[in-house]
Symmetry: C2
Subunit: 258 residues, 2 copies
């Protein structure tokens, strides 16, 4: 079988992170990559590796994760992998789209931008249907102040203050292209796009901004936290359940799924 030409298939994925120990395969615990690779193995009759664009943590959701794999199954047209795959998957993971892409496409290394969205919910009580997908705020925040705080994050900075202690990457410099809060449906959504993110960066940023807003601190305080490059100075980490990996953006040579 190894002499057959292998096609490179790109998947756009959505998952409810509630019952997963994150994206990446681990020795123990149900993971999104693990569930998807099990389905691929059943479809192919031999192990198949899946490359995801980004790892998501335990409890973090996705509605636009991207992954790719190489297949020797020439009986399935590329766009049909979506339905074939979904018939093997549990209902908390869905393939939204599948397509053939050039051999050079790699979901992780070709990605030029990642977009995350975080759902805040302002109410005394969370409606049960939203309970797995948002973080509740007790009072309505000053959205203009939150946006002035978020504006400080835009640009190329060393984000060490917002990286979880265990982050193993060497450089803490990242480029944030956009960061803003605005109402969307029942939520106040914080949306941020960057070339890539440090471990737990979005959740530490959000937890910090919510704390600063609550104490009425202005953007100069956030600029100071950023400048000090010290995780201990930033705020606490917002819960995973509000966070969605929303979209992965690729360059023109490797256009993404949208």
């Amino acid at each position: 079988m190894s002499v057959l030409p292998q096609r490179n298939i790109r998947l756009t994925l959505a998952y409810d992170g509630t019952d997963f120990f994150g994206w990446q395969v681990q020795k123990e615990g149900r993971t999104v990559q693990g569930v998807l690779e099990q389905a691929l193995t059943r479809m192919h009759g031999h192990p198949v590796h899946l490359q995801g664009a980004g790892r998501t943590d335990t409890g973090v959701h996705a509605c636009g994760q991207v992954a790719n794999f190489f297949t020797d199954l020439d009986s399935i047209p590329p766009e049909r992998f979506r339905d074939a795959f979904n018939s093997y998957l549990p209902h908390d993971v869905r393939v939204l789209h599948s397509a053939a892409v050039p051999e050079s496409f790699n979901a992780k290394s070709c990605a030029i931008m990642r977009v995350y969205a975080y759902n805040l919910y302002v109410a005394p009580v969370v409606l049960p249907q939203y309970r797995r997908y948002c973080w509740r705020m007790r009072r309505a925040p000053d959205v203009a102040l939150l946006n002035r705080l978020a504006a400080q994050l835009v640009g190329t900075h060393n984000f060490a203050s917002f990286a979880a202690a265990g982050d193993a990457t060497k450089s803490r410099v990242r480029r944030v292209a956009a960061a803003s809060f605005y109402p969307q449906g029942p939520f106040l959504v914080f949306r941020i796009s960057a070339s890539s993110f440090l471990w737990k960066m979005v959740r530490v940023m959000l937890g910090t901004m919510v704390e600063l807003e609550q104490e009425g601190s202005g953007p100069e305080r956030l600029a100071e936290i950023l400048r000090l490059q010290d995780r201990k100075i930033a705020g606490s980490t917002a819960p995973a359940r509000g966070l969605f990996l929303e979209r992965i953006i690729y360059d023109e040579e490797n256009p993404g799924p949208f």
Copy 2:
């Protein structure tokens, strides 16, 4: 304790019906009323009956169910029952609001209108976070045709064609005040209000309208189904998971929670 003055407390309730065998207490199976009465019993130290405005079936959700109960607990201000109650409840049932109401208020008999909403989702694949709360349609329906069908249901009619076989009520005559489809957030929502509903009436109506739309039948066919007063002529019952009891409306002497 029986000589203490009893206060009448009205609750506005939301629940995720997925893991409940409906509203009403049964000999076996987890029900919303059962879970709420267990919490009341723990709070009071003796059994307390809860009167709901309407029964919802297995798998049906609510975001504006109303119920009332009489309490001799004078240590809790009426509006604080919400938070006290929620601390005893699982996360798939929430008290949204609590208030003292006149002794004459009965959540069921004082209700003059019930409003239900049904979520349709038009897409090849349902996003996992919506999977418990909608019914998927494979192609975009003709919303104008759906609304012309729905218009046939408005008014006072014998709705025997849309009542589940086991419905035990004598009269099948009900007054539908409004019925329409319109896009709301990610869904196409069918919203209907009536004095009261027959068993599974909303779901049979919706299943029928979706089938008529798919075969291109016009409003005259729905009028005929209504006129024949025969359940076998109507369409199939839409799944419970798309249906929400959204609001109960009371008269001016017994104003509701909104």
